[in-house]
Amino acid sequence: MAYNILVVDDSRIIRRVLIKTLSIANIPINTVLEAENGKNALELLDRSWVDIIFADINMPVMNGIEMIKHMQARDLLKSIPVVIISTEGSKTRINELKSMGVKAYIRKPFMPETIKKVVGELMG
């Protein structure tokens, strides 16, 4: 099975590196959608189905936490696994994110092995 993946990060370079990393990790990909903030991502989710979302926390316009809150309020979106990729190392913040339904947390900079392991665990 090949996955539809949404990458949400305000940094174009990080989006590009993550997409490259997914490829290096041999994750089967159907399509990769990109959004530069949470609002943009929700707009894409209104018209496209994705299997997994990789999102940053700190973004302008709408951050990752607000995006997850919006997703949790919508039946069709709340089942999509969200993986947070961020620089933050606060355990308090990570626990808060997990209580909001976030499936995994990866700290930047990330390695292909970590991405592959997380996708494997989430998608079986």
Binding site: N58, T87, E88, S90, T92, P109
Partner: protein, 157 residues
């Protein structure tokens, strides 16, 4: 408000930046005893910084000559050659500042504290602005290959 151990901040900022450069840019840096403006007669210096707020407020920044910043962006993207779009260079230095900031704050304040990070920004840093920065922040210098760069953390009162 908790006081800042300047010596520890300096040491942990060095450790953080060296680790981030190794893991993200695949470049190996060495600390210098006396940080100096890295663009004296050597082109333009990019200054990428990010503000944080929480138990302490302040900002963290990196000052990188454009030639070195360009090599860093190429390394992050795993690209060869020497041409890369200016916006990618700026994006790369901002992302480096972002990662350094997140890691430094966790190392310095521990992993129970939550900080809010603003979006990073980039300007060109001139020598006179460097003097002001030096007087207000905890600043460190690194040599990388044949170039050098600076990092700093500035705590607001």
């Amino acid at each position: 408000m908790m006081s800042i151990d300047t010596k520890r901040a300096k040491k942990e900022l060095v450790v953080t930046i060296i680790e981030v450069l190794e893991q993200m840019v695949f470049m190996f840096a060495d600390p210098v005893d006396k940080p100096e403006y890295p663009c004296n007669g050597k082109g333009i210096c990019l200054h990428s910084s990010i503000e944080f707020s929480g138990v302490r407020n302040g900002s963290i920044g990196l000052i990188i000559p454009t030639i070195l910043a360009s090599d860093m962006a190429l390394n992050i993207l795993g690209m060869e050659g020497d041409i890369i779009a200016e916006e990618m260079i700026i994006d790369a230095t901002q992302e480096l500042a972002n990662v350094v900031c997140g890691r430094f704050l966790t190392l310095f304040f521990g992993d129970k504290v939550v900080f809010r990070l603003n979006s990073p920004s980039t300007t060109i840093l001139k020598k006179d602005a460097m003097d002001t920065l030096e007087s207000r922040s905890i600043i460190i210098g690194l040599t990388i290959e044949e170039s050098s760069m600076l990092g700093y953390v500035m705590f607001k009162d």
